[in-house]
């Protein structure tokens, strides 16, 4: 009798029948374990708070690279499509927004091919090395007040040191691929890294002189105030040099020598396929984000708002003090809100049924609540508004990178080198000289 009943069930029902008791048992066991172990666990976390913070930050940073890369890939698809007079992706998701997710799935489902003759361990490790350096650089970037992985006095130096590590991965990929195009791409990457790391690092020395520290958090704090307190007004030349060198550092057009597809097929990634290729791809887009975030932090005030809020907002909402009002809010506000917001639809159009009007009202009410919540968070929590400003600034730079890819042709490799050594390097030295002179004169006056 049991088996006849079982046979009549659909697959989902069987899964529910099996999973519910299993989950109940597991949950009970976990609850007991937590009750027994929570005290010691909390003690351990309290004792090792910096370590816990580091682990949490590292995990979070690795995880957020995924949505960031997806967002930038989608942005690139759409913006370049607009520049090219195309529509761009518009099939998957609203306005094609899930296109990059599909890209990711495609890359995952492809064959992970290892060609004959490659140096297998190095070939396998290279994408990991390239990708690993990116979340590590994200670790020092302050996204909002209190929202950063680590803050220490050598953050900027650490950033450049770790950022240079990805070149090692590119060299590994190029060398191990057993392909002449890969090798040429990797050697270009190495030459380009050496040429552009110098102006990149030297261009921010002016800021270090001004700030007196290499901690990114303090640099952002020193730019607090309005638009005119940002470092861009004090270091315009430094910013131009930094941005050009950062373009080369992120391997973006017009300075994407390493994977110039018209010359070197795909550069260092020629022999890669599947998710290993995906890692390179992924790292490139996250790198764009990292470089944009650093531009925003160093020159555009980081998470500081560009202007003070013109009128003071104080939201002093104490739920505990409401008493009976709280019950009203929780129990009646949704109902009243739904009816009030749905009423106009019901009244104004006879073609909308009562149920539909109610559903519309409910959706609108929820949207309103979400908007109100974010507005409240933006106004009252410093880290929310900081994060919003930081992301806005960062994505302005991401947009500029994407737009450059859409409009500019590629620079030749020797022009790239001569530009770095003949123009950027002297200009950054001049920038350091002028900044140092100005600072010493102003300090002695």
């Amino acid at each position: 009798m049991v088996s006849a009943y079982w046979n009549r069930l659909s697959l989902g029902s069987r899964a529910i029948l099996v999973l519910v008791p299993v989950l109940l048992v597991v949950g009970a066991v976990l609850t007991v374990a937590a009750a027994l172990l929570l005290g010691p666990l909390l003690d351990f976390i309290n004792a090792n708070l910096p370590l816990g913070r580091f682990v949490l930050a590292a995990t979070a940073l690795i995880v957020i690279t995924i949505p960031i890369a997806f967002l930038i890939i989608y942005m690139e698809l759409k913006v370049i499509a607009a520049i090219n007079l195309r529509v761009g992706p518009d099939r998957v998701g609203p306005f094609g927004a899930l296109m990059s997710v599909v890209h990711g799935l495609k890359v995952l489902s492809k064959e992970d091919f290892t060609p004959l003759g490659v140096d297998v361990p190095i070939f396998t490790l290279a994408p990991i090395v390239v990708f690993a350096s990116i979340p590590l650089t994200l670790l020092v970037i302050p996204f909002a007040p209190g929202l950063y992985g680590q803050d220490f006095n050598l953050a900027l130096l650490y950033f450049f040191a770790i950022g240079g590590m990805s070149v090692v991965g590119l060299m590994m990929a190029g060398w191990a691929s057993f392909n002449k195009y890969s090798l040429l791409g990797a050697l270009r990457a190495a030459a380009q890294a050496i040429s552009y790391e110098l102006p990149l690092t030297l261009s921010v020395v002016g800021i270090i002189i001004l700030a007196g520290t290499m901690s990114l958090n303090s640099i952002v704090h020193q730019q607090a105030g309005s638009l005119f307190d940002w470092n861009i007004w004090k270091q315009p030349l430094g910013f131009i040099i930094f941005f050009i060198a950062a373009t080369a550092e992120a391997n973006r057009t017009p300075l994407d020598m390493t994977e110039a597809d018209q010359e070197l097929v795909a550069g260092f990634a020629t022999e890669y396929s599947g998710m290993r290729f995906g890692f390179f791809f992924f790292a490139e887009y996250v790198n764009v984000f990292v470089v944009s975030a650093l531009s925003a932090v160093l020159f555009f005030g980081g998470w500081n708002a560009p202007f003070d809020w013109p009128f003071p907002v104080t939201v002093s909402l104490d739920p505990g003090g409401l008493g009976l009002g709280l019950i009203f809010l929780i129990a009646l506000a949704p109902v009243v809100g739904t009816i009030i917001l749905g009423l106009p639809f019901w009244l104004l159009s006879s073609r909308i049924s009562t149920l539909r009007a109610l559903v519309t009202g409910f959706v609108l009410f929820n949207l309103l609540i979400v908007a109100a919540f974010f507005g409240w968070a933006f106004v009252s929590a410093a880290w929310v508004s900081g994060l919003v400003w930081m992301m806005l600034k960062t994505f302005v730079f991401v947009f500029i990178f994407v737009q450059m890819r859409g409009t500019l042709p590629r620079v030749r490799v020797d022009q790239l080198m001569s530009f770095a050594w003949k123009w950027l390097l002297p200009a950054s030295l001049l920038n350091i000289f002028v900044t140092a002179t100005a600072v010493s004169i102003l300090a002695n006056r």
């Binding site: 004959l116 500019l408 042709p409 590629r410 620079v411 490799v413």
Partner: protein, 404 residues
């Protein structure tokens, strides 16, 4: 389960296995002194195989580059991936069939591939082509020239790394192709010219599309060119690249825009006038620099002149028949005829021999792309890998015509 251990690269067995798998390209047995010289590597040199499946070799050209670092020391183009033996096919098909066989030669400007053999057959047959047909030929031909130059602009920019110009120029090219499709019935291989005229008269769709397009063509083409002409990176890369001087250009039988960019004002439309070109007003743009930028700018000047010609054609278009009266089966008298037209890449010419049957005894096709491709051997050595494709793109060869 144990995984098989991979042998190291020094292992001779692996070397043999790799050679067997085609990974180490075996150096071909030298047949000539030139091959011997090319495949002998000097200190620090290596061979790099580009194509036939490289992203930017314009069809299926294969070039073996001998490089030292990033610099190209020498190169060896390997042709023939698109060879169809079209001249032999022409010997075995009758005069009407040949036209459709010649279309795919230079598939980007196929009207010109039809034009010159059709003209030579007309000479063999002593046919007088109606004036309206000649005007239609010039009109459609110049449209095709613009389409070809638009494609050149896009590819050239793409080979230099710019991804937008090709889509902008394709918008214009596509409009032209739609127009030509309205009148010829096909978008790429038109098969439109006939011995003694053309296949169909201008129709309403063609005329309305052309009228629409002519109104905005000038401004839109200028906008597309402005994306490159005023781009510092593009100009710096193209200027002084692959300089072809006047004497070399003449010695290497260069024709068309590549010759005119080197300062020789030779244009078959003026030098050996054919069709109704003597009645039309247009200039022959020339430039003296002879570099890639000059070749690019010259083609863009030609686009402007073609617009002028189209405008005049529309104003002077006579009424009348579009086909001469001819028998269905053509048997020209035995003899020879030569004809040449100025195509977007240079001189397309055709030498037809007839033995009195309905098939030509021999049809020799002269294609400018083949001669221009020879120039890469002179222009490329000493440049960087990045510039090899840029130089080749600036010469604008089409592999269909090279391999025939």
């Amino acid at each position: 389960m144990t995984t098989p251990t991979r042998p190291s690269l020094d292992d001779p067995a692996l070397t043999i296995a790799l050679e067997h798998a085609g990974i180490f390209e075996p150096i071909p047995m030298a047949r000539t002194e030139r091959q011997q010289e090319f495949y002998t590597l000097g200190d620090g040199e290596m061979l790099l195989n580009m194509g036939p499946q490289h992203p930017s070799t314009h069809g299926v050209l294969r070039v073996v580059l001998k490089i030292s670092g990033e610099q190209v020391v020498d190169l060896d183009p390997v042709l023939g991936y698109l060879h169809r033996g079209v001249e032999k096919i022409a010997e075995n098909s009758d005069f009407h069939h040949i036209i459709s066989q010649l279309d795919p030669l230079e598939y980007i400007s196929s009207l010109f591939c039809e034009w010159s053999p059709v003209m030579s057959f007309e000479k063999l047959l002593d046919v007088q082509v109606p004036r309206r047909a000649e005007y239609i030929r010039v009109l459609t031909g110049e449209l095709n020239r613009i389409a070809s130059h638009m494609l050149f602009l896009g590819w050239y920019a793409l080979d230099l790394g710019g991804i937008t110009p090709i889509l902008w120029s394709f918008a214009e090219r596509d409009e032209i192709m739609e127009m030509l499709a309205a009148v010829t019935g096909a978008k790429l291989l038109f098969n439109y010219f006939r011995i003694g005229g053309v296949n169909g008269d201008l129709n309403h769709e063609f005329m309305s599309r052309l009228g629409d397009w002519m109104g905005r063509a000038g401004a839109q083409l200028e906008a597309g060119m402005g994306l490159l002409n005023e781009n510092e990176i593009f100009v710096r890369r193209a200027r002084g690249l692959g300089v072809l001087d006047r004497e070399t250009a003449l010695r290497m039988c260069t024709t068309g825009p590549n010759l005119r960019a080197s300062g020789v004002p030779f244009d078959i439309r003026r030098a050996h006038p054919y069709s109704v070109y003597p009645e039309l007003e247009f200039d022959i743009p020339t430039r003296n620099e002879g570099d890639s930028l000059a070749r690019y700018l010259l083609r863009m000047d030609e686009v402007r002149q073609s617009l002028r010609i189209i405008d005049q054609c529309l104003h002077q278009m006579p009424d009348g028949p579009i086909m001469a009266r001819l028998p269905r089966l053509l048997r020209p008298r035995p003899g020879r005829a030569y004809s040449a037209v100025e195509g977007p890449r240079g001189q397309y010419s055709c030498y037809a021999m007839s033995d009195g049957t309905d098939q030509p005894f021999r049809l020799r096709i002269h294609d400018p792309s083949f001669l221009h491709l020879q120039l890469v051997g002179l222009l490329m050595p000493g440049n960087l890998i990045a510039d090899t494709m840029a130089i080749m793109a600036s010469l604008d060869p089409v592999m269909g015509g090279v391999d025939k």
